[in-house]
């Protein structure tokens, strides 16, 4: 992952002034911070849209009334209660990965592929949303569509 641009290439980071929204400010940062900042945005969007989808699933299904989902500090937990267990999906900043811990298939680590806009597990080339699609549809025994979430690859938003 070591890229020479991390040390040489500066980036002009333009952001809205927090106090006066109409003005823009410019900051000079290094490329590595810029990459990490971009990763944080993509990871946050992915996790937040998954959180909203899980929340909707839980409110729509009466038999899931014991289930709970939380999203804090980049950690998404979905607790289906016993006997199914709990899913933990979190971002791992140093590796620029999303880590998944599934009560059915165990731990996996996903890297972001810009070309297909998906999070892929390199050992079997399966995407995060594909795995959630197959496992959650088995748990709930009904059709779910995780590909409406952001960065799942199938639909262009």
């Amino acid at each position: 992952m070591l890229n020479i641009h991390y040390f040489i290439k500066p980036v002009l980071y333009i952001y809205n002034s927090p106090l006066i929204l109409s003005t823009k400010r410019i900051k000079l940062i290094d490329y590595k911070s810029y990459c990490l900042y971009k990763f944080e945005i993509v990871a946050h969007e992915t996790l937040e849209s998954l959180y909203e989808y899980f929340e909707d699933l839980i409110t729509e299904n009466e038999h899931l009334s014991d289930s709970d989902t939380t999203f804090n500090n980049g950690v998404l937990t979905v607790n289906f209660g016993s006997p199914i267990g709990m899913y933990v999906i979190n971002r791992q900043l140093p590796n620029e990965q999303i880590w998944l811990s599934s009560p059915i298939s165990g731990p996996k680590r996903y890297d972001y592929l810009k070309s297909t806009d998906t999070w892929v597990y390199k050992h079997n080339n399966q995407s995060l949303h594909q795995l959630l699609q197959s496992e959650i549809s088995n748990i709930l025994r009904k059709n779910v569509d995780f590909f409406v979430c952001k960065h799942s690859g199938k639909y262009c938003l």
Binding site: D68, M86, G106, P107
Partner: protein, 168 residues
């Protein structure tokens, strides 16, 4: 709609779902307080395979070393000793400690069969710590592949020596 996220689910009192009580399982505490197989083996020894996995930034680093019996003494090449050194959380230490315990006395092929799910079940790891068991499995596989590479290099050297002797 997003405002509703910030209103607590049970306003009258604390909902049991919000109190997140996490205790270390007694097996994990046992591995932490009574460490077994902690240490190093001589990495230059041809019978020793070393696996180093993880990164300090992620929080866990594991070094696992295995010593295999000489093939002349024992044809199957059983693992006679294993040592580990781990920097990380209690679950990571317990996972690597358990891995060294299980790997002793097994052949290389049997040791390759060890799965992270077995380690996680034995230690009753919570969902957040399942990644530690996967790291322990990676450490074993790294140590075994390092041993294999060393054996292949040793064989190549032997062949080269024999070839030069024949040419003389």
């Amino acid at each position: 709609m997003s405002i509703f996220k910030y209103i607590p689910k049970n306003i009258q009192g604390y909902s049991m779902n919000n109190i997140f009580a996490v205790y270390y399982h007694e097996k994990v505490i046992d591995h932490y307080e009574n460490p077994r197989n902690v240490g190093s083996l001589d990495k230059t020894d041809k019978r020793v395979g070393t696996g180093l996995v993880g990164a300090p930034a992620c929080g866990d680093v594991m070094k696992l070393q295995i010593k295999v019996r000489d093939i002349q003494v024992d044809e199957q090449g059983r693992i006679e000793d294993a040592k580990f050194k781990t920097f990380g959380c209690g679950s990571a230490i317990a996972s690597s400690s358990l891995a060294t315990e299980w790997v002793k006395g097994k052949t290389i092929d049997e040791a390759l069969q060890l799965k992270n799910t077995d380690i996680a079940k034995e230690l009753c790891l919570p969902p957040v710590k399942l990644h530690c068991s996967m790291l322990a499995e990676d450490a074993i596989k790294a140590a075994l592949s390092d041993y294999r590479i060393k054996q292949q290099n040793a064989q190549k050297e032997l062949e080269e020596v024999n070839n030069t002797k024949m040419n003389e």
